[in-house]
Symmetry: D4
Subunit: 255 residues, 8 copies
């Protein structure tokens, strides 16, 4: 309902001043005291709110999960610890936990998986971040192709999967240490590449700073970077791009 | 022509061993001695090669422009100085130069502009980077909507353009200083946001590091970051996303 | 008693040389061997000394609390651990401990709460720092309005509280990750904003550096920044400002 | 005019739907194409908009000054170069320029100066930043007391001005090199201290980073920090505090 | 024995070629396989070797202590853990351990304490580092005056000890957080100041970096800085300076 | 005149209240409006004030030199530009300028040079910083021995000067690039070593940060560090130490 | 088999199209699902693949060791924990573990040790990294000479081993703290020096950054640097150089 | 002549005590007052001394070139400016200058070029650094193969030169921006790779820090890194390795 529409209805007496006032002052979130659940987010962005579990007190986390499950029929959280899973399981026995990606969820119904996103990693130690990306994107309805351990120190491992990589709508390139994977992938594909630096490595990698800077400075085109270890963010963004590719976007009609 | 196809033709004697060898050893770039023009790039990525002019010696730059113009009928370069424009104009009088974006180009024919990308800036000082993004995307065939000087210190300026922003396939958010624009935009739209930190500011902005970190750490979803002042990279990536939205992407048929 | 006044009294024999010497060499602190309690601080600054508990050996902490309680009838400490609380409780059973803010105190009498300070946070994980600020300011006699979880990724949550925010004498904006909340608040209010970066986040937030730089570089006016996670400092400063607003300050009479 | 009031008038036919719509979609800024002058800022914050001149193209700057002068009867800009002054003088002969603070202004009428702000510097090299703060605050109507060259390497110079410092509503402490001045001042006064790190120094001062960190980590209470060399920001914030002290703030009536 | 002297003796047959060879190839350290004890150090520098205990395997540490005790009649180690003390006590029951400074030693005879070094700290949390400095210097024979908790947030505490400070041959100033103590002391005394940044603090102190930069950039004269938390280094250097003051140094006779 | 003495004289009527007040409020600096010359510094520290010329406006600098020359019969400034020298020469024709050290001075009478300080550099590019140190120390009355270009990449050059180095009261070790000279010297001598990192080098030396960290972390004893390129500071501190060695220091009588 | 050879055989019908296709699409690695063992690496580089154990899940690690042992008759891993050793021992009882270097291996037959590599350390705390280098190089067939605890604070310890050092084909210099060892060694030898910064130290060594920068900026020739604590990388590279020296390299025949 | 040999001759009276003393105190460098030419370097290291021209005063540089030319019949300097070339040409007309590499030399006779070093760059902007490496190595007698502009954003350009790369004794990989070239090359070859980060790029490359960290953290084996833009250092080290490969190294005879 647009502004003018509301105003016309007020004029016409179809809706009361109080209702209109509520409209103009509407509060699109659920006040929980300690938190404000963003219940309009799915409407606004097409994606339900996702819970960042790390550091949330047990009682808070449980009541957020209960609230969201009640409202949406499903709930999805990242960076959950095994301890949080065990607490949650007592209250919501149907909750599922994946040790590697640390995702804690109750999934209403398996979504239809559409389009294609390739998630690749440089090494095996990058897999947890990659799985956070992959499972996030799957939850949001994307089809995922995983290519793990294809880093540039053995470039033939990556080149042997060119067909897979070149048929994606979006590639998520996950790499720690020197993070060169993103540049090499970026030089091979025509679709957007979301680069995820990981904190894998030691010494002068400075907890992922090295990979982050590498990816930022990539001389290849079509690469953008998310935060260190932010698999969730990459999965979200890749899904947005994949959806645009599958469902089509907007075409400005004017002009 | 796929590998098996070539091999079958060799077997059938349809193509000679020499031709097939050339195929397997093909060198998809133009050797210019000092540089290797990536002439297959358009085929591989759907985008012609773009020249990064900054720091290239005059003679090199001129011969690269001539070569590319000859091959593609057009040529597009970024980070060109006024001096480079004046040198080039003597040889290629049809060359165009934009002082703000520092783009130096010969454009074959104006492309049809499809889809919609919003390019917004926090302040007026961010406009040169934004224009590099906008004009790059236009050159590659995207329709651009510019929203400049809508930074978060006067949030109403941004909110008054919600319609424009929400109808884009991709938003490019360009901001220096504290770079908060990307987070606010990211919280308002459902499409991907490409964040471009700029080196605008002073003191503890450390030549763009502040804005870069802000954008990296955004608590909003659907944001990825390119290098400081990298308008070109953002324009390129936004075009990739916009094309996927307009032209559609791949749908994995298998399974 | 001013310098000239003392001297006149010496001349007049009203006070002895020894007394005067003591005046000029007075030592306005309590020597405890390992520490020097700043007993003149309340006179000098209008605020009693507050104990930073973290890292203080148990025996030291207990004797400091006892000393201060004896002198002032109350005592207030920050960054106390649960362990310190338990040790203290044995000696001072009336001591109170708040798990979230980690404040350990014996409060003489509840102060009258005057003026108005808004303490807002970007997310729920910022609440401990915010509570340190809020409870500090309350202890010093300010009235607090808490607005938690109103970060910029859902800007409507903040905008729906404009009335509250605009009626404050001072706003304390607490945010980790990208720390953009301070800039947005700064653009909305006319009172001073004390920005508190928190170490909440991961990866390229570098333990709060990202939020600190964001707040430092804010393009909004009227913002100043305290140390990462320094809720106490923000609460103190906000109280100073709030008091000036309520009680009035100085008006230079001269000229 | 509040939301309900507008709606009641619509219902009553006192204002048209179109007028009401305009109210709800109002655009509180002046669109200049390349910039959006924030003409509601004075209403919102009590301070007119100030122009950051550095880097603005000559033509843009001149038209912004003309626009603002026309609207407000005065205009105030910071970080202006001598070149910008000379350009401006041709168009607005009444413009004034201060070489030290680099402020470029047309001041309508000298404001009444109220309250008291002390602006102090550690060394003589910090004076330009201090003057930006002092003159900004004067323009906004504060009374300023300047104490320059009172750094901690000769602490007696500072101590000899205790009376001045202790009678301020707010102290702005400007220091480069090691930036210790803020801590010492903070330990001496009961009013808020706005610390301004400057880029004065060399070597391991890293263009002001050293002073910034010093001020951030101050063990004194009641100190907050603005960006390196940000005299304007400190002057603005000090004025806000000074006004609260002079004019009084809000007292929350409820409860 | 000088080179020429040895050679003359060889010529004269007073010492054999083998003995002379040994002289020229002499190995002024004790080879322990895993370590090379620098047994000539006392001769070379006037100070016996001191053991840095942290991280040394138990067996190595014990045999080093035994070796040194046997050779020198005493042994002195820094950064020892309680665990290391307990292991050592079983083998060398006379060993003494100080929990605060973490010094583990067997002291032959109490040295005569000469000259005067002031060791001062900003806060109580800096005491462990200060004690490492003080006890090191005492072990090497210096007289120590301790002034703890005299940081700049209450400058009067420092000023009340001016007599003590001004009578030292060297001041060791130990401070974390903003580290301003060194600058203030440096401005008050005529003797060298050894500044020791500590890792005390949180947030933007970056484990002592803030204090280190402050001290490095001090605008006071006569200050030099040692590594973060390096109490031992400061105690050593202060002793060197104190000895020069007490025992006298060299006077170049030539010219 | 001590506090009690003054008071007794007041009581006895030997000095007036006004005189006594002046004593207690004495201002031991020369107020010049823009600066406060620290005229008591020589009394307090034994060293006259030295002018840091860099960045001082011409008129300020000239009047400071005139003032100081008048008061002390000599004046000494560092970091002077050739331009400043030329301006000064017009007013004070007797002024001397050294291009390498950038020292600008009028020296009353050549001081007697006492003791011995060795100033050594790693390379020839470090000489300007070394000369600032050496000439400062000479001005303050120390005897200097220069050993330049004795860096560790040809360790024999340093070892061939062991006699010189070992007979100093203090060594100033000046080095850029990797800064290893200080550690090697520190391992060879028994006197204090003042290490001066220089900004000589390129790439990962980060304008002297590399040398600074090297010197900070030296595993040799008896080394302290001053700011990058701070030859003056090193010369000052070395003179303090040299004086203590030559003139003797304090011996605490009490016990 | 070269490209042309394969094609000729296809033409001649000697090999089938399928076989040829397999050749052109060959996958030179063992797919293990979670990892891709690079089984061609020994052929390509002359070195078998080495396992980086740290962080690998137990089950993964065991199956990788089993697979590699089966294929190569031996297996070599670095950064193994004692826990990993205990798990492995149950399955492969012949596995050997070295606590210091943290190497976990099954060695087929002791290799002949050829050439000479010197591995030296500055202190005893650097030995674990040095042993990783030394044992890696031994496993790859190099002869190692160890010189431990020869850091620059007692330069005579290093100089007394000149013969050893000067007879090496390559020197690995391992040092933490200030890392000056590499520069000194580099100035003494004619062979390449591989510098390994270690994280040994505290405070301003920033976990090895100090040593890394020192080594990077070395003014000696013939030094290159590997990552902090990367003993394995240094051992590998030193072996490559040693092999070239022993076995001879390539001589370009053309021209 | 070894120590024992000298001593035996002294004993035998074959050489005088004075000659022997000179031997033991020999000074293997040419003292030039401002510099100490390391005339034994060629004997010690097999390489003549090379002059780092940048920043050397004209007169110094000229006399160093003259001295070295006289002694060695040739002289080689790096980082020379065109200005230095023009000054030098007046004195030594035979001097040659290369604008790109900035090498200024008089070459006695063209050396025989032996072995093979590949120098490759990621982009054309890296060529100046690569040429410094290549021409240095050629001067020292190595055969060079140049492969420029083969960066990873078009990996096929690199792969098409596999034959060249795989036949080298050493590869020098020069790259700015993200610096990924070294990792890819390292994964393809069996010889050592010397990685040279360059300062080419902008924004978050931080003047070469990004490429440096990438190369440091490479997951490929056999890579070591020299300073940013240090082409000379890479050329020197590559020559050492190439010589070992061509001329053979040492084989430890003992055991």
């Amino acid at each position: 309902m647009e502004v003018r529409e509301v105003l016309n209805k007020v004029r016409a007496g179809e809706i009361s001043v109080e209702e209109a006032e509520k409209y103009f002052k509407r509060q699109p979130f659920e006040e929980m005291g300690f938190a404000k659940l963003d219940s309009h987010r799915e409407i606004r962005s097409g994606f339900p709110e996702v819970i960042y579990c790390s550091g949330k007190p047990d009682a808070f986390l449980v009541s957020i999960y209960q609230k969201m499950l009640e409202e949406n029929g499903e709930v999805f959280g990242t960076r959950a610890s095994r301890h949080q899973y065990e607490i949650m399981k007592k209250v919501l026995p149907q909750v599922e936990y994946d040790e590697i990606s640390r995702i804690l969820k109750v999934e209403g119904r398996r979504k239809k998986q559409e389009g294609k996103i390739v998630v690749c990693t440089a090494g095996t130690a990058d897999i947890p971040v990659a799985e956070e990306a992959a499972q996030t994107a799957q939850y949001f309805g994307a089809k995922i192709c995983r290519l793990y351990d294809v880093g540039v120190s053995g470039i033939h491992r990556l080149l042997s999967h060119m067909d897979e990589i070149c048929s994606a709508n979006c590639v998520v390139a996950v790499a720690g240490m020197e993070g060169a994977l993103a540049s090499v992938v970026g030089g091979l594909v025509s679709c957007p590449v979301i680069a995820v630096p990981t904190s894998v490595g030691y010494g002068a990698n400075f907890q992922g700073l090295s990979a982050l800077l590498t990816m930022m400075n990539s001389c290849a085109n079509g690469i953008a970077v998310v935060n260190i270890d932010n698999g969730y963010g990459a999965g979200y963004l890749a899904t947005q791009i994949n959806r645009l590719a599958v469902r089509g976007g907007k075409q400005d009609e004017r002009e």
